[in-house]
């Protein structure tokens, strides 16, 4: 089968790989019909995540058709079209029982800090991902969810990560009616976070980014204010000025390790890898929050450490809430929102690219070429 293969920082290609096999009684094999490149894949692509091994296949956002099931799989049948959440979750451990499906304790031997994730290096379990024609899906009774007949596949594929992550970012913000919410980052997750903030009753939503085309998009899609931080001297001062000098009730870091905006953070975090990525967005979020406010983090960072103003967190009495999205927990509500026309995530998709052109797809997304917001990869078997 065809599958993406990581070769080194900023080097990926399509290779022929062996078909995945059932290795566990609760496994399923899924034929991929759509997969995405996620902003967090760029941390892997840039070689910033430790234990990313040559030959791995990335991709944690995919949907497909069940081709084969293990003997203990009883919630799916061959032929089902499924949304596959990016979290690999057993459903049995104490964390899964609490619906913390991103924190499963039986899916990632290499690290205890995160559960298993498809195609996200050995730091997340060493699983091959969905930027391929076929994928092995462990714990198939737990995560995979049958796609409703009425749902467009482009909406479905965004339910694997982007929509739940953006929604959970707003949810973790504990937004109360009338709150001012600042979102740092107008990538797909930031856009969804801004849109979701209204669902929780935000009174004002403000987004920061440096790409004009993304700011234009988020203004229309999320009906919010959006500002280019390059044209503002200091986003934190701007936030204070626009909130009677108090700051935002809720700040969301929707960028993570690839953040721009500070030369010092970029050099130490992204170029020299002296930090686990650049934490500029998180720094702005902490400093822009009102005293007693909440900072919600869904941007992804590496496992080592970052320079953040933790003293300000203490002095301002901030609450920090963060996690990988618990996709399975959120899916029923989000499916309802799509059915009712409250959310229309597929508007985020700007590019449909053949899987065979994976190297170009990564370059386009990574460098934000051709006004790219969200690229979707289509394997050859899904184009027949």
């Amino acid at each position: 089968m065809l599958a993406m293969s990581y070769r080194g920082p900023q080097r990926v290609r399509i290779d022929q790989k062996p078909m995945p096999e059932i290795l566990h009684p609760q496994d399923a094999i899924v034929r991929v019909t759509r997969s995405c490149i996620c902003g967090s894949d760029l941390h892997l692509y840039n070689g910033n995540v430790p234990d990313t091994r040559v030959g791995e296949t990335f991709g944690h956002e995919f949907i497909g058709v069940v081709e084969e099931i293990g003997p203990d799989v009883h919630k799916l049948k061959v032929g089902d079209q499924v949304i596959v959440p990016f979290n690999i979750a057993c459903g049995e451990c104490t964390f899964c029982k609490q619906e913390l499906y991103g924190n499963c304790h039986e899916s990632n031997p290499q690290a205890t800090a995160v559960g298993g994730i498809f195609g996200y290096s050995h730091i997340a379990g060493g699983y091959n991902g969905g930027q391929a024609e076929y994928v092995r899906v462990p714990y198939a009774n737990v995560g995979p969810t049958v796609i409703p007949d009425w749902m467009h596949p482009d909406d479905a594929v965004l339910l694997t990560d982007v929509v739940p992550t953006g929604y959970q970012a707003a949810e973790m913000g504990g937004i109360q009616k009338g709150d001012t919410v600042a979102v740092f980052g107008a990538g797909p997750v930031g856009i969804m976070a801004a849109r979701s903030a209204w669902l929780f009753g935000a009174g004002r939503v403000i987004v920061f980014d440096q790409e004009e085309y993304r700011l234009d998009f988020v203004r229309k899609f999320a009906q919010c204010e959006a500002y280019n931080f390059k044209s503002i001297e200091d986003p934190v001062v701007f936030m204070k000025k626009t909130t009677d000098s108090l700051g935002a009730d809720v700040c969301i870091d929707a960028v993570g390790a690839e953040a721009a905006g500070s030369a010092m953070q970029t050099i130490t975090g992204r170029k020299l890898l002296l930090q686990a990525g650049s934490s500029t967005a998180l720094q702005w979020a902490i400093n822009s929050a009102k005293k007693g406010g909440i900072v919600s983090i869904v941007g992804i960072y590496g496992p080592t450490g970052n320079l953040v103003p933790i003293g300000n967190v203490v002095n301002k009495g901030l609450t920090i809430r963060a996690n990988q999205a618990s996709v399975k927990r959120l899916l029923p509500r989000l499916i309802e929102h799509i059915r009712n026309g409250v959310l229309s995530p597929r508007q985020l998709i700007t590019h449909h690219i053949p899987l065979e052109e994976i190297s170009d797809a990564y370059r386009i997304f990574s460098d934000k070429l051709d006004n790219c917001i969200k690229p979707v990869l289509i394997p050859p078997s899904a184009r027949i």
Binding site: G8, V12, H24, R53, P109, G116, G126, S359, S366, L369
Partner: protein
Amino acid sequence: MENQEKDYSHIKGWGIDADPKNDPTYPMRKRSNDEHNGYGWKRPPQQPIDIEVLHSNERPNVTAVFGTSAPPSGLSGMIRRYAFRYGEGSFAHWLPLLMADRVNVVEGILDDFRRGRVPNIFAERGGKAEWKHNPKGMVQKVAIGVVVVTAVVALLSRRSRSSES
């Protein structure tokens, strides 16, 4: 505050998920206190461990399922085995892993040659897309590369000339 709007009727779904209980003290997990009983849940069946699986020293075992994408091998594998002696909070764990990743890149190139394949690094880096959508940036990158290489070569040749004299 500026622009504080009061009428949100133009925003579809405004407030439909509002939850006054969702303040910072309201847990987002369904707390059961089961974790007070320790690692006592009924584990799923174990995936056969028929490849080398490195596991964190912060857990007692290999998880019930695991990925099989790229078992440790070669020099990078040796470095990874060393790294896994240390806990997840230690730089002695992560820095060797980053080093192993870089060694692994060289191993990947050598492996390509061993299989009779010359890696097309221009294509792997998405050169075609960059040329199509950002030719100016690409020319700039190439020009900077040429300048840097020329400067290094000039510097080295000047040093070798001065050491000869």
